[in-house]
Symmetry: C2
Subunit: 347 residues, 2 copies
């Protein structure tokens, strides 16, 4: 009856107990779903509502050593294809909230000490590390933490941590198969800029996948070197790229940025993708359909990847002691749109 509407001080479970005429422990029982007489429960809930009571997170954590927070460690630099990061983050938060967790977002600026800080101060219960490279200093640090950690991206040595990643080899298969099925004879793709070599496992896998399927179908595969992914660099590759244009060429674009540039490159040469040459891209369906000529594409399915990663993490948070898992997320299929030429019909 005292501190009812007086603001500036949040009500405690003691206040609720007093108002409901029960002991503090009873309030706790109600909150945590222990068996309580229906009539008592009603009185307590009424009191909680009246005081707009919410349990203090710090006190809870202190008592239970559970923070109900997970830390999401991402790379947000301007240089990257940061566009793709947003759906990941969105999905992580949605999944976390479904399990009554909040998400602390951390960038790499702080380095591995950041992980130690978050873990040893008991700020979070677990980690989701995104954009994990083959040799990633965070992995060693994270595996020493004694907390659940899931990696998105494959390090050479996962040190007993769960890993999820895109199955880009399969993606490459689908893309080349699509071109083979529609009667193409040449496949052209831009290589990674030099700096990227051996950084992310899914990059190597992609090119491996291309080679495998080009070989199987007896197609010629041109991998065109690239200095960086700026427009200028890509524009300079126009001639090697379009060399085979009149001999059933299919161009494969691995990133949004490259896709973008190739579309413009073709346009500037007066070439229409889907008529003069084929263009197939690894990008989301949203992006594929945002072009004047909707692109034939394979979606990497970022939301599926993230959901799986969160599943792994919550399994661990629930106490799972299974051996570490490594799972790749396969793309569903190719969606054929306006940029595929079907040579099997023409000839």
């Amino acid at each position: 009856m005292a501190r009812d509407t007086r603001s500036g001080k949040a009500p405690t479970s003691r206040d609720v107990a007093a108002l409901a005429g029960v002991a503090q422990s009873t309030v706790s029982y109600v909150i945590n779903g222990r068996q309580v007489a229906p009539e008592t429960r009603a009185r307590v809930e009424e009191a909680m509502r009246k005081l707009r009571y919410q349990p203090n997170a710090g006190a809870r954590t202190l008592r239970t050593s559970k923070t109900n927070v997970i830390a999401l460690v991402v790379h947000l630099g301007p240089e990257d294809d940061a566009v793709e990061t947003v759906p990941y983050i969105d999905t992580v938060i949605a999944e976390a909230r479904r399990h009554d967790y909040d998400v602390i977002l951390s960038t790499l600026h702080e380095g591995p000490e950041g992980l130690i800080r978050l873990a040893r101060r008991s700020i979070c219960d677990g980690f989701l590390l995104m954009d994990v490279q083959e040799y990633d200093e965070r992995v060693i640090t994270a595996s020493d933490l004694d907390l659940p950690v899931v990696l998105v991206g494959r390090p050479v040595e996962a040190r007993g941590l769960d890993v999820v990643d895109f199955d880009t080899r399969k993606t490459a298969h689908l893309l080349v198969d699509e071109l083979a099925a529609t009667g193409h004879r040449h496949v052209a793709v831009h290589d990674e800029p030099p700096g990227n070599a051996g950084v992310y496992r899914f990059l190597d896998d992609f090119y491996t996948g291309l080679r495998e399927r080009a070989d199987r179908h007896g197609m010629e595969l041109s991998i065109i070197p690239l200095e960086d992914d700026s427009w200028n660099s890509i524009a300079q590759t126009a001639d090697p790229l379009l060399d085979h244009c009149h001999d059933r060429l299919g161009i494969i674009a691995r990133t949004p940025r490259i896709t973008q540039s190739i579309v413009q490159l073709l346009q500037s040469r007066g070439l229409v993708p889907g008529e003069d040459v084929s263009l197939v891209s690894r990008c989301t369906d949203e992006m594929a359909t945002s072009f004047p000529r909707p692109l034939t594409n394979v979606s990497p399915q970022p939301r599926k990847l993230t959901t799986l990663a969160m599943q792994f993490l919550f399994d661990r948070l629930a106490g799972s002691e299974e051996p570490a898992r490594l799972q790749l997320v396969e793309p569903e299929s190719v969606t054929r749109r306006a940029t595929t030429v079907n040579y099997t019909r023409r000839s």
Copy 2:
């Protein structure tokens, strides 16, 4: 000497005290920078290092009612121009860490109850609400929270909260002035899709700014209706857009998406921006320079906006009781690149 390297249990300040042969309070003094004899301090720091001690955040919060966490509430839907969101988030985290704060990221999915939960459970010390609309249900909720809140975006009624926003009116001025200075006679711009009307204050301001300066310079201003910002809708506006193409037309693009589309539209019509027609855009410098023909642009300066917002928030967190502030972030200037035609030189 007991629980030295034994893992699974984080060391406490009591362990540190024992190892250093001092009282627990002395450890606290060292951590919190109270005066301590240099020699004692050294022993304590040595012990902390040896145990790799980090103070438990929950216990600290419980004692001090300070979480050292701020909540960032953003809109991450796929529909939006989410690209622009990443630099905001990155800056928020960097600024927060500079002040020894962590950032909890929250989306709108949860609605205003999410704010109440974060505040009343003492999960965070303050809020940064992004993408605030003119009538935004979060504002009332947030202003009742008794915690520091900064809004990015102007509601009709700010209810005593600090507000920062882009000065898009000024942006519009700069863009039209650039076209006037280079001898243009017509200005064309796409209107907002119907759904956007009256949602964000900075939208109205932008068109107001355009009108003001077009009037002043005696230029004709065409605002072209748009159903939505898909490629198809924009493509359909080609004719009205290019009507005045041969009478010194300058096109203004307000968003990345529209900019993108217009570039492609011009290209498909065989028009070169910077020769046949001018194109000036409100977009970041990074984006402006990513096109084959670098765009004349005005940068909205997302990082500057965010830094200011964080400044406001930390002022409040430090206890400032000043009257609520409203501050707009002006763009620096127009950067003239390849897409401006200079008619004052030609005629």
